[in-house]
Symmetry: C2
């Protein structure tokens, strides 16, 4: 069979598996995920052996790709955590009666079939399998070629876990070939078999997915996060938040990339923050006003506004108050996560109401943009589109709903 035929066959099997998966109960889904964890722990040598082969042939991203016994245990532990999460299916998210006596309930249902396209992080394979099974969705995994051997070894553990719980093996399938054409077939939807594509990887991948996908896509292209210091900001709080938002981890999508400071308070706020950031190894690129207020700030150019560094680099701009900050974020942000530091309640609430990002934050670090930190237990991605699901996406967010109407013989006039 051709690759196209093979892929369509995967789609058909995934659709059929999804139909059976939605009928399973929460205990069965939990048992399958817990069994995956046991199967991963039972296969550590095989997984590390496959990973060593991947690392030997890898072109880059070695750190993201490489596994060791500790990292494999972390994968298994993440599976155990998802196995213990409350099941999102069947929840009544609304229920009401109509004057004619009809009882209408909105009930959480699985979406159906997820297409997970990722690059070199093997943990995405196990995380996605767990979150999809938890939420009753079948998933087709497509790993980057660098991580394919590792992900195939992990998939053997996933498949064994599904079998232990009596679930259809097609609930979690993996594309067995590195052929890049497979991604194109998935983006085409496999004859309507795929309901939602979730890309996890670099900008090039996400841009290709956004450009070519013929089905819904969940994800974010960039995390261009801003932290805005209002003139009412407490200086010590502002310093601690900015240093954490930028430097805790610079490679995550919730890292602050641009610091905005009210002109009125900049002479007080900026110098100690600039010093703390430089101590932390962060390069600063500022506008002329900010450079006049603190040492060691290089000159920013227009390419620094709205730029995702994913590195210890921070753009700094002085703004003329709340409206200017909101306008700057609207012009240069990516709708991911933006924060204000302010003691002034009215100013803070206006920022939270008017900034149209998936996550808006007052007096905390933008690096809290994470499903785990939100209490979702696990996260398959963060969505910055305007349609739901938006923001961190865990098992509960990876569901849809249907309306259940219970009557006593009502006919419509």
């Amino acid at each position: 069979m051709s690759l196209a035929d093979d892929m369509k066959d995967m789609g058909r099997r995934a659709r059929a598996a999804a139909a059976t998966l939605r009928q399973t109960n929460a205990a069965t889904r939990s048992a399958a995920i817990a069994a995956m964890a046991r199967q991963v722990r039972a296969r550590v040598p095989a997984i590390l052996g496959a990973n060593a082969a991947d690392v030997a042939g890898a072109s880059g991203m070695i750190d993201r790709l490489r596994l060791d016994p500790g990292r494999v245990e972390a994968l298994a532990d993440a599976l155990d955590q998802v196995a213990a999460l409350p099941d999102p299916l069947g929840r009544e998210t609304a229920r009401w009666q109509r004057p004619n006596g009809l009882d209408i309930a909105r009930v959480a249902t699985p979406i159906g079939v997820i297409g997970m396209i990722f690059e070199s992080r093997p943990n995405v394979a196990t995380d996605a399998a767990a979150i999809c099974i938890r939420s009753g969705n079948a998933v087709i995994l497509r790993s980057g070629s660098d991580a394919l051997a590792t992900c195939l070894a992990l998939h053997e553990a996933i498949a064994a876990g599904l079998a232990e719980a009596g679930l259809d093996a097609a609930c979690v399938q993996i594309v067995p070939t590195p052929d890049r054409a497979a991604v194109g077939h998935m983006l085409g939807g496999l004859d309507g078999a795929i309901d939602l594509i979730i890309p996890r990887g670099g900008k090039a991948l996400v841009e290709r997915v956004a450009r070519e996908a013929r089905v819904a896509v969940l994800g974010h292209l960039e995390g261009i996060c801003h932290t805005y210091l209002h003139q009412s900001a407490d200086p010590a709080m502002a310093r601690a938040i900015v240093v954490n938002a930028k430097l805790r981890r610079t490679s995550v999508c919730g890292a602050t990339e641009c610091l905005l400071i009210d002109r009125a308070a900049a002479p007080v706020l900026l110098p100690p923050i600039a010093a703390a950031l430089r101590e932390g190894g962060c390069a600063l690129r500022g506008d002329p006003e900010s450079r006049a207020l603190a040492d060691g700030i290089a000159a920013a150019d227009d390419s620094d506004w709205g730029r995702e560094y994913l590195a210890p680099v921070l753009a700094v701009k002085i703004v003329d108050g709340l409206d200017a900050a909101i306008g700057f974020i609207a012009a240069h942000g990516s709708g991911h996560t933006d924060a204000i530091v302010a003691d002034d309640d009215a100013a803070a609430e206006r920022f939270l109401a008017e900034v149209d990002s998936a996550i808006v934050v007052r007096n905390a670090s933008t690096q809290f943009a994470d499903g785990g930190e939100f209490g979702f237990g696990a996260e398959i991605g963060i969505a910055t589109g305007r349609l739901a699901p938006r923001g961190p996406v865990g098992p509960e967010q990876l569901t849809s709903y249907k309306y259940v109407v219970r009557g006593a013989g009502q006919t419509r006039p």
Copy 2:
């Protein structure tokens, strides 16, 4: 300027208007919609004059297109009803605290810019304007050429209503040309300006939208609704529900197109229902078993299963119990609305749980598939995709959400 440039300019103005609209309060949005109603009533002669010109030049669909004073008043009354609806924006749909003290709220927000593509029903213009303004979304209306003059006259009333309330005229724009290329530009998203396309019209339009759209689409291709009579169904209730579900209105998407009857009860249930349907002028097309049980049932062929007649025609099939009915609906339904008539609670609940349609119904007519009947006050469409919004879509369903995180200086460990 070329049409492409004109359309992109509409998109830019819509995006800018959406940014201001999301900051308005509920009273302003209500005032704008109520003012639209007054402006429609003040323009009845102009609207009817434009409509007479449309009707004179129309190629078909005259009944859907034609307005009279009563129908114009109905449009205005629908606007008044939406003006009186509760505002969906700013609602906290969830709020919780994290152990670190972070307060997280999920708050309803507008989606942004809606592209409304419809054919010859002028009421879609005013209904869509009202529902979009109620939910804080800007909208670009694209009317079929048959109804363009009428919709331009209605848009003058809409624009005057927006102006009365001090809202940006670009909150509701209409494509002023019948050029079909305009639809293609909208389906391309107008450089990212359009967040969601809602098609309202015939199958050809909806198929084109589904095929060409580069942005999210909300709607349904077909309403292939089934009513299944379980062997425990009360005969009188079953007869009343089936007659209503098929014949109340045969042109609506919630009309039942196929009747499934348990073999065990078919000899009792089918004859009186077939007689009542024939009395009501409904043609029946059945499988051999059903034809042997009642008079006047023509022979169905395979093309009758999964067929949307939108006419006084009903397909009839005898099935071997609940699982066969669920399987038949999975194979031939369109995921819109499917009903069971049953006194047996266990059978009914299994049907409601296992049929994966946007709306599942027990002991009531499938023709309740309607936003007004659900209590949504108004409806811009019914969605059969698996991703939310699903089912009837009113102002509340036409919103997205964002997460508002309130802290006290928290940084992430």
